[in-house]
């Protein structure tokens, strides 16, 4: 559109001086005979010449002006083509510039060509660091939960300054069929541990996903989440009692997501059976089985929920736990079967579905466990249960408050085990926890947590100050 318009204008300005010259030529006078007229004619001619000179000068000036305008219009259009920013102010020119700009500005981006190099396919590497300052009236390192024989992870950080587990994870797609995840951690005594190392399918049809390797089981709510993703600094009592904080083991998992508008997921796992409450890799290294179902949906724009039922069946062969009262020479031994059921409910509220400013998360889980077999060579068949409920409220950006209550209950034990770790001495273990959290960003967090821990026979008051940071391409978090 622009070019023909400019051409017409150029033709017009070129035509003007040409016409003037023609007029000048046709008006050139012939000489007359009469001398008397000569002077007059000469005067007239001189007058005409002056007039024509003036007109030609005027025309030349107009021509120059027109040419300058044409140049200006051209450069304005070009400038507008780049940024649509310097277009002139008349409405007509605005529209013209916008049309040009619209054709040129949002050109499809040439897809960036990644430079080819040996590290082009590096996996995503992320690190999680955390550290504590702990003050407490009694030791926090060795857990004591009256009536329960505990695994080695059930305790908390020691008093004073300490770092928690430092984690490094590597994740990447392996090929179009599989993705891999490796997470290893170092505890403060410099012991390396492979927390998770698994391959996961990414292209199975019909909503199936398979996983193989070492991974955290999908049972419960907190179990599958890494500790840095929990709302509190430590696991609640039932996780410490029944799962030694988290059940992770070597095995396989199959999940199926139902094709429904309501979230409905079924899963099952088959593990080696080497982690508490299992031990000894029973049944030729196939000692633990789990089943779980997750369901969830939105209630309205601001509220959503997730519920789960989980079941874990494990076999223990000569499981060793800490004998805190010295009943069996410092180590308790258990061989038998453990069945555990977990009911989970999580509710999240974020006004308008916008959690940035304010949000609230309430969650609770109920655990019911049955263990039967030989504990320190004494036959037992005992039912235990426990539960926790917690709420965390972010009341302004970066700031949260939280409270948690947890309680356990033991079953009857044979008289032969009185005075052992399974003896609750009539005590009901419970713990009340409160926290204040400040997030420096979504990658950094400071927490002040207070616990009145009445789980052991003597209550303990603990104050934890914790930092947690994540750096590197850390994946999005689960619900």
């Amino acid at each position: 559109m622009g070019i023909p318009f400019k051409n017409r204008r150029l033709l017009r300005v070129a035509a003007l001086p040409a016409a003037a010259l023609l007029t000048f030529a046709s008006a050139t006078p012939s000489f007359a005979d009469q001398a008397s007229d000569l002077a007059a004619i000469r005067g007239e001619i001189a007058q005409m010449q002056r007039e024509y000179n003036a007109r030609i000068a005027a025309l030349e000036a107009r021509l120059k002006k027109a040419e300058a305008e044409a140049r200006a219009a051209r450069s304005a259009a070009a400038a507008a083509g780049k940024t649509a920013d310097h277009a002139q102010v008349t409405a007509q020119q605005m529209v013209q510039a916008a049309e040009t700009a619209q054709q040129q500005a949002p050109e499809p981006a040439a897809p960036p060509t990644p430079p080819s190099s040996i590290n082009s396919f590096n996996p995503g590497i992320a690190a999680v660091l955390n550290g504590f300052y702990t003050a407490a009236t009694k030791s926090t390192k060795t857990a004591s939960i009256a009536g329960f024989a505990l695994g080695d992870e059930a305790g908390g950080p020691p008093k004073g300054f300490s770092i928690g587990e430092s984690e490094v994870s590597l994740t990447a797609n392996i090929d179009p069929e599989m993705a891999g995840f490796l997470d290893f951690s170092f505890d403060r005594e410099n012991h390396p541990t492979v927390e998770e190392a698994y391959v996961r399918s990414i292209s199975l049809p019909w909503g199936f996903t398979a996983k193989a390797g070492r991974f955290l089981s999908g049972i419960g709510y907190l179990n599958e989440r890494h500790a840095h993703d929990w709302s509190f600094s430590d696991a609640p009592l039932p996780y410490r009692v029944f799962l030694n904080t988290q059940y992770g083991d070597d095995g396989i998992q199959l999940r199926w997501l139902a094709p429904t508008d309501v979230f409905l997921e079924f899963g099952g796992e088959w593990f080696r059976g080497d982690s508490y409450p299992a031990a000894g890799a029973a049944n030729a290294g196939q000692g633990t089985q789990t089943l779980f179902v997750h369901a969830g949906d939105d209630i309205n724009e601001s509220s959503s929920w997730l519920a789960a039922l989980s079941y874990l069946h494990s076999t223990a062969v000569n499981r060793q736990t800490d004998d805190i009262y010295g009943f069996n020479g410092g180590t308790d031994r258990f061989s038998g079967k453990d069945d555990l059921g977990i009911a989970t409910f999580v509710y999240k509220w974020a006004p308008g579905g916008n959690p940035t400013v304010r949000n609230f998360v309430a969650s609770g889980e109920f655990f019911y466990g049955h263990e039967h077999g030989l504990f320190d060579d004494v036959p037992i068949s005992t039912d235990r249960y426990g539960w926790y409920a917690q709420g965390v409220y972010q009341f302004m950006p970066q700031w949260s408050l939280g409270v948690r209550y947890a309680q356990m209950s033991t079953g009857a034990i044979p008289a032969a085990l009185n005075g052992s770790a399974l003896d609750s001495f009539g005590h009901t273990p419970r713990a009340e926890t409160a926290l204040v959290e400040y997030d420096t960003s979504e990658f950094g967090r400071l927490r002040l947590q207070y616990t009145h821990d009445d789980a052991g026979l003597k209550p303990n008051d603990e104050v934890l100050l914790q930092y947690t940071v994540i750096y590197g391409p850390h994946g999005a978090h689960r619900y």
Binding site: G207, E301, G475
Partner: protein
């Protein structure tokens, strides 16, 4: 017995999978949901994962989103790391091979336009920056046209039977949008050169389009909520370089912009940012109608 059960389960699955040809679209943001409807018409069913009242950076990976992504033939999302805090988890948990990154069913709109502000260095100390460039392209309507072209091609690739339908609708959309852009640009002429402050640095494409001059964002770093101290610094800056409007998206916390509006005595302008951000922004066309109207109204205050 086990085999029979598995067989029955597989049959049930086959029966449950949708037999109709319509494309199921999982749109991460309402503007791309609206564009999907413009191109797809009644051949697509669109699920919007977020509303105009929500911050698309910060969405919880809710179970409902996972269930909807499970059924999707295509995700239509902004990309450029805008949804990095939640979409990867949705895609991982949705167990849907169609929408994995790199598949035709994974459509990112920012791949089809030239992104501004591609950072030369990446460091979290700079705040929540996006490695690929500023992702908020929908603040400039001219961006919808190349995206619409690419989306029509993608729909046609996934649903070849309706290829002509998608191409026709795209051509019609492009015609209407081109005319509307000329109208908006003319209406917005008084906004050219007007200095503004913005709460989040999310308006660069609109600023280039309309010739607005951003004096400063209120956030000290992208994604970091401004403290009172940060806002006082903004006020000091505004004394040297006055602005005429304080702009925020409808989903954002109103306090920082209102504070600046009150203390610098300039009107606070709430823009829809996306379809559904305001009551007036019902589709892609009324989105920009409302945006221009609100900016012009702010200028008259």
């Amino acid at each position: 017995m086990k085999n029979i059960l598995i067989g029955a389960a597989l049959l049930g699955l086959a029966a449950a999978s949708p037999a109709y040809a319509n494309l199921s679209v999982f749109a991460c943001e309402p503007e791309w949901g609206a564009l999907s409807s413009e191109i797809g018409g009644d051949k697509v069913s669109v699920y919007n994962a977020t509303t105009g009242a929500q911050d698309p950076h910060q969405i919880q990976a809710r179970p409902s989103l996972i269930a909807r992504a499970r059924a999707a033939d295509i995700t239509v999302c902004d990309g450029a790391e805008l949804e990095i805090g939640w979409l990867p988890m949705i895609i991982q948990q949705a167990d849907n091979a169609n929408i994995q990154p790199g598949q035709p069913g994974n459509f990112e709109t920012t791949r089809f336009v030239h992104l501004l502000e591609q950072p030369t260095s990446l460091d979290r100390a700079q705040g929540d920056i996006h490695a690929a460039g500023n992702p908020h392209i929908q603040t400039d309507p001219r961006m919808t046209i190349p995206v619409a072209k690419a989306l029509a091609q993608r729909f046609a690739q996934l649903d070849p039977a309706n290829a002509a339908y998608y191409q026709n609708r795209e051509a019609d959309f492009e015609k209407r949008m081109t005319a509307a852009i000329a109208r908006w640009t003319a209406e917005a002429a008084p906004l050219r050169g007007v200095p503004i402050v913005v709460q989040h640095h999310a308006w660069i494409y609109m600023e280039v389009w309309l010739g607005l001059k951003e004096v400063t964002p209120l956030e000290p770093k992208p994604g970091v909520p401004p403290s009172t101290g940060d806002l006082v610094q903004v006020l000091q800056k505004l004394q040297a370089q006055p602005a005429k409007l304080a702009i925020r998206a409808a989903y954002e916390d109103d306090r920082p912009t209102d504070f600046i509006s009150e203390h610098a005595n300039i009107p606070a302008v709430v823009l829809p940012f996306t379809v559904g951000g305001t009551d007036q922004a019902r589709d892609l066309f009324s989105l920009y109608d409302d945006t221009i109207n609100r900016l012009l109204a702010g200028l008259k205050k």
